[in-house]
């Protein structure tokens, strides 16, 4: 059997990822390749398996089969904390800040244990998004949008090489949303790679150089946004057969 090798310019490669839940196939042999320094989009209708894929890649769900290579390491089966320390971080679809920890503690806990200047670093990040005055406020007392932003800052504490963003702008007001996307662009300019689940196609078109489309647990299309927006299988997945037949 040929050994699967991730190309040097790819930071994340997955081959044949399959995940079943009681007979229901949530992922069906998913292959995915994320190039270093890019922002890659992952789109698909609700229930297509996007979050499951993130769960598997990040180690939260260790029941999948297949192969995942991150930065030349095979990480399938690793604990989430090991994967995080290796440089792959993720955010959640619904905000999961620690409600009874302060904003500063929420960030510091995500820093490396040996990082003596974690608090300074955290305050610097908060400063950049104008949340420094909230450092001593409990996570539960922030607005939902602020919580999502803090969750995003939290994963930056470890300087990850790859960040998986699961609908980071959902439920966030336009001002904070803009702040978030500006930060993503800025970090990407510094070399951080992103894999983003997002329903707003304008954002995907604007940010992503490469887009994967997942439907019913399968990758049905991949390419730049212009190439996938008119892909028949993508249109069918999003709008159903009637749309396709109607258009024909």
């Amino acid at each position: 059997m040929n050994e699967l090798v991730c190309a040097p310019d790819h930071i994340l490669c997955a081959w044949g990822l399959t995940r079943e839940f009681g007979g229901v196939q949530a992922l069906r042999g998913v292959d995915l390749h994320v190039a270093r320094g890019t922002i890659t989009g992952l789109i698909g209708p609700n229930g297509s398996g996007k979050t499951t894929l993130f769960q598997v890649i990040s180690g939260m769900d260790r029941g999948a089969s297949g192969t995942i290579s991150f930065d030349k390491e095979s990480i399938l089966g690793w604990r989430p904390s090991e994967i995080y320390r290796r440089g792959l971080a993720r955010t959640f679809q619904l905000s999961r800040v620690f409600p009874e920890l302060t904003v500063l503690e929420n960030l510091v806990v995500a820093g490396h244990r040996r990082d003596r200047s974690a608090a300074e670093r955290a305050l610097g990040l908060l400063e950049r998004v104008h949340l420094r005055e909230y450092a001593a406020v409990l996570g539960k007392n922030l607005s939902y949008g602020q919580q999502k932003l803090v969750e995003f800052l939290r994963v930056l504490m470890s300087d990850p090489a790859l960040i998986l963003l699961d609908e980071p702008a959902a439920g966030v007001n336009p001002t904070l949303r803009q702040t978030l996307w500006d930060m993503v662009r800025h970090l990407n300019g510094l070399g951080t790679t992103f894999l983003v689940i997002e329903h707003n196609m304008e954002v995907i078109a604007d940010l992503c150089s490469d887009v994967y489309v997942l439907s019913d647990g399968e990758i049905i299309a991949q390419g730049d946004f212009a190439s996938i927006r008119n892909n028949e299988r993508v249109l069918e997945a999003y709008f159903g057969k009637s749309r396709k037949h109607g258009a024909a």
Binding site: S81, Y84, E100, L101, T102, E105
Partner: protein, 318 residues
Amino acid sequence: MSNDRQRLNGRWVGAVLVTFVLLAPLVINDYHQSFLLQVFMVIALAQAWNLISGMTGYVSFGHAAFFGVGAYAGALILTWGFPWWLAVMKGAGIAALLAVPLGFLTLRLRGPYFAIAMLGLNEVGRVIATLWVNVTHGGSGLTLSPELLPSLDVIYFTMFGLALGATLLVAWVHRSRFGLELRAIREDEEAAEMVGVNTTLNKVIAFVLSAVIPGAVGAVYVMYTSYVNPASAFDHARNIEMIVVVLFGGSGTVWGPILGAATVMILRELLWAQFPAAHLAALGVLLLVVVLYLPGGLISILRDRQQKRPDAAPGESP
């Protein structure tokens, strides 16, 4: 009030309390000394429970098992003629050795499953102590002759040392990176793991630390009572007492278990003297009121007062 000033005040209160405890045996009678000794015991046990359940949210209904193991280990060491301090160390050591595999096994369980597993552990300990007759003397228990035991002053100061040590340990954990990780586990274990916290290792370390204290306390307590049997060593009421005291004072805090232990013990003593038949019921009602109207425990009153001060910094807490 700044955190530095608050810390300084806490140190002053601590220094006054320690001075009082050190001088107390010179001025109080044996009855009151015994009462204080039991307060120290409850503080140490409550801090131990606080370490695992208050910090990580894993509610244990079976920490009395470690107390029981420590009590038997201590009693046996004394019976074999070893010095009292070795009995205390042995009680702590055996509890730690037991806690390591138990922690890895039980801390996979969450919520009520962990609580019930721990409850089962206490029962297993009681049954083993009852059936292992050639070592424990079964239901008859082990009686320690007076010449094997240290003086009441030694037991008093040793128990005080354990209460102080447990409190300092909780205070250190509370302020450390380790404590921050434990609190993150309590808030959202999956999210904590996702930001690099090795949740299994942290929980097991907290569990072992929280087992060592009751192990040592059990060994000291058996010197005080000079007798141990399965019912007294693995007394389920002791589990309830740890939980009640921590909830009463304030879970997950440093001063909460001290405040809770002192309040519960003094109230129990007063109510017992006034209403011998109904004192436990009265205490139960009081606990119900605290849990319903002060879910953060008595310490939350102090914290709220602190935060209402005009000079309080945001997020400042005792």
